[in-house]
């Protein structure tokens, strides 16, 4: 089928070294290509315009791999969604991510899509973003400064600024995600509402994490997708749950708080009213499950 007018692309590069890629990014006039599953669709629909350089980062070995580094699980930016499903380290240390990966699109897309791409795409409904928020994930961004490669870290919550907008400067490349390892007896759960196990774009998704303590959850994190301009942490809901036993009253109050705390819109997939109903009902259900297990 017809391809969009790509006259804007003047250079194409597929470097194998991170340094080379960062040099090409330095002038801020590059579009980054990883798996391509979002970029191809967005560009063909005219929602994204190519910059002067199309920079294919998929051959950079430094961006690959999953490893445990001290107290964090480090996911290279090129980790595919299928890798999240298959890698035993993810299953061991962040099963929530494997759960989300299992509800991501289709096998064909999982085989190509990368966590780096999913994070930088910053969709309000991003399937890996919700569990990463609940796991306190950080992004690692690299850039070239004075001939040296330097990197900085940023909590994911601060990285996601709005629909399709992130705190990544144009001369920066997302190189890895750092997911703190949980300690102790942890409850983690992810759910994506839909009539299908995976293929749907989220209407509502949620993740809850917390350390089990005194019949309830401590250090609790509650995150939602598709009910705000970015995936969000429901702080008021977390506050209601923090350190409290998970009895019916607490659960009901938390579900009601979540209902009030999210800000969904009406769109072709669902109305705002219905999304709020789902947030309340699914939160209640997930918390009851936490209480019962």
């Amino acid at each position: 089928m017809a391809q969009p007018d790509s006259n804007e692309v003047e250079r194409y590069a597929a470097p194998e070294s991170l340094d080379e890629a960062l040099d090409l990014l330095a002038d801020g006039d590059a579009t980054v290509l990883a798996g391509g599953t979002d970029l191809m669709v967005q560009a063909q629909a005219g929602r994204v315009r190519y910059r002067g350089t199309l920079l294919n980062v998929r051959r950079i070995a430094a961006l690959r791999g999953v490893r445990v580094d001290g107290d964090a699980l480090v996911l290279g930016a090129l980790t595919t969604i299928s890798d999240l499903l298959d890698d035993p380290q993810v299953a061991a240390h962040a099963p929530l991510l494997a759960q989300a990966a299992d509800q991501f699109a289709s096998m064909q897309i999982r085989n190509a899509a990368t966590v780096g791409g999913n994070v930088c795409n910053a969709s309000p409904a991003g399937d890996t973003l919700v569990p990463m928020l609940a796991l306190d994930a950080e992004v690692e961004l690299a850039t070239r400064t004075d001939g040296a490669t330097v990197s900085r870290r940023l909590p994911l919550e601060q990285f996601l600024l709005g629909p399709g907008r992130t705190a990544r400067a144009l001369h920066e490349l997302l190189v890895a995600l750092h997911v703190p390892l949980g300690s102790g007896d942890r409850f983690t759960a992810f759910d994506k509402f839909g009539t299908r196990p995976a293929l749907d774009i989220s209407t509502v998704s949620l993740a809850i994490c917390g350390r089990r303590a005194d019949g309830g959850l401590a250090d609790v994190r509650v995150a939602y997708g598709a009910v705000g301009p970015t995936p969000l942490r429901a702080r008021a809901t977390e506050a209601l749950l923090e350190g409290r036993p998970l009895d019916d009253a607490t659960i009901e109050a938390a579900a009601a708080a979540a209902h009030a705390e999210v800000s969904p819109i009406d769109d072709v997939r669902a109305s705002a009213w219905y999304r709020r109903e789902l947030v309340r009902n699914l939160t209640r259900r997930m918390l009851r499950h936490a209480a019962a297990t």
């Binding site: 391809q3 007018d5 009539t195 769109d267 072709v268 109305s271 009213w273 219905y274 109903e277 259900r285």
Partner: protein, 783 residues
Amino acid sequence: MHYESKVEPIAPPPVARQSLIGQRISKLDAPDKASGRTRYIHDLNLPGQLVGKILRCNRAHARIVAIDTTAARALPGVHAVLTAADIPQRCIGVNKDNPPLKSGKVRSPRDEVAAVAADSEAIALQALALIEVVYEDLPPLFDARAATRPGAPVIQETKPDNVSIAFDYDHGDLAAGEAASDVIVEETFQLHYVTHCCMGVSGIIADFDDNSGNLTLYSNTQVPFLHKREFAEVLELDPSRIRIIQPPIGGGFGSKLDIYPFEPICVYLAQATGRPVKLVFTREEEFLASPTRQPATVRLRSGAKKDGTLTFRDMEVLLDNGAYTSWGATIPFVMMQTASSLYRVPHCRFHSAAVYTNNPTAGSFRGYGNLQATFAIEQQMDRLAEQLGLDPLELRLINAQEAGETTGQGMQFKSCGFKACLETAAGASDFTRKHAANVARRGDADPVKRGIGIASMLHVGGGAKIYPSDGCGTILKLDDFGHVTLLTGASEIGQGSETVLAQLVGEELGVPLSAITVVNNDTEVTPWDVGVHASRTTFIAGNSALGAAQLAKEKILNAAAALTDLDPAALDLTGGWVVRRPNDAQVMTLDKLLRSLHFKEKAELVVTSFYYEPPSVHQDKGFKGDVSAAYAWATQVVEVEVDTETGIVRTLKVTAAHDVGRVLNRLGLEGQIEGGIVMGQGYGTTEELVVEQGRCRNPNFRDYKLVTAPEIPEMELHFIESRDGEGPQGAKGVGEAPAICMAAATANAIYNATGVQIHRLPLTPENVYRALHGQSTPPAMEP
């Protein structure tokens, strides 16, 4: 010693007789399809071919003030830019109200205002972007209910009252029926827009030769012979100069039963450029510009006596015709059949009006109005049952017809498996017990409820005499290797018709399927057939093929008799042999016989032809008459799980009993039923074309939800073989049946689970959740 040689062996071995009927037979073209060899229209390219693209107006209702194509014409690589000014002003469509390129005004966002032929798709799209059109917006009309009110915008000048087509039917005496009723129910139902979503998008290739005036079209039409006439009219060509070649189709489901603007547009481009032109839709264009299923508002009022017998049915239907008229406006033909004859209905009145709006146009779609009518009727049957204190199955059995009955509309039910369908589906699914148990559990604490619902359908199963002829021609030729070529007018649209026809001929001539080639895709070669619609192909093309095969068999056996000095009545064909009754002793192989026919003194070929016209009649002016040679029934029992906290309805199991007359190709039949059930599941619970301000808001698979593999129910199929006397080997048509009553059965199941009845489709989670919580469906939402 002197020995006389003898011709007859002492004890010729018998040929093992194996019938093909009822077997699981693989589709003849499946191996090619499974290896990617099959070339669909998208895969065909002619030398010198140009790419055609259409500029659509994206305005609901507007006057065309000016079109400037100068810049587009000047673009290198552009061979033609056409507007209405460049082509004859002929119209297409059921009401001949649809000019392929619009002039004067546009009436819907999909309207075609210009077309381009260029060297490549990229150039064609650039050219479209350079065409400047000035519009003056006119007041739009989106609400069908407002179309006939005074002061409503007039959409088509020839129909100032905005009524495209109206139908009126009645039998009996409605007032008497009302008076005789002990219970009466009246409800209104809303049926929504869905679309065919064939996996292969629409396309056409036009190759016009100036010198000879010959036009060759590569088209996925389901009605090639009717289309020759349609094209001839709109193009002002001699119909005998038009040849239609049908590449394998990427899905039909009724979408290719009408001629659409893009088709003559492609021919105009070919004529203007002197080059072949290929015009293929994008998927987005397929959603935006293809015909939909006809949406409908159905007001249904019906009654019954205390003893459970139905008394009357009064159905009033409002159809949103859209801006132009296609087959959607004629679905009342089918709806009135269901209203008048699904169950015994002594008194019936039916009225429908299709009104013009600036919305999308509906076409023909598998089931053709029967889904809409059955959704209303089969829900109301459950309401009547409830008011009468009868079980839903009981009420249906009391009113189900039997063989030998004629309905108020004049339909003669010669073979009728209706009651068997009801009893089989209900029995196999343990319907009555589960239905009662689910009612008892409605008040339980568990938010996930189980429901079971039943619905039946009636549809034509032996063609439908709506055109001057409902016939189909076959030419059969046998060569000297015993190979059979079957030329049929009947198209294959993925349903396996070519395999069934080969099966019927193979059975008759006693040859294996590997010895048969089916040719069905070139109007230059194949005999006339009216087309693939009304589930008619197995019945009518099948009888046609059988007729030709029987003539061939007669010729063959007469020749064998002459050669062997036997009585032709003592001979038969089986296993590739001419055999002798009663033990099927070998006489000679078929190919040897055919060679001897060729090479003897009075040489002749075995070529036969047969044109089968079913013994049905045209309806009279009151729409009464035995319009089909046979009728078919089905009952489906649907079991669901309703999550009342989310509204998600999971279709767990479908138990389907289909009156098919006779199982021919068991594998193909199962495939049709399973596919139709899942299509019905989509219609009922997942699919919706969201139309706002005349525009489709979800023109993609991301937001138009087809059913996917994880969602399909368990399907248990039962075939009722009522052995129709006219059908080939007793078979009747089933193509549309399995899609028809799914939505009704599902709605009934949801009611069984929750006590909440939902009168509108689709039964998507939000819609079900709102119904459960007493909320109405929201108005148009932001995209």
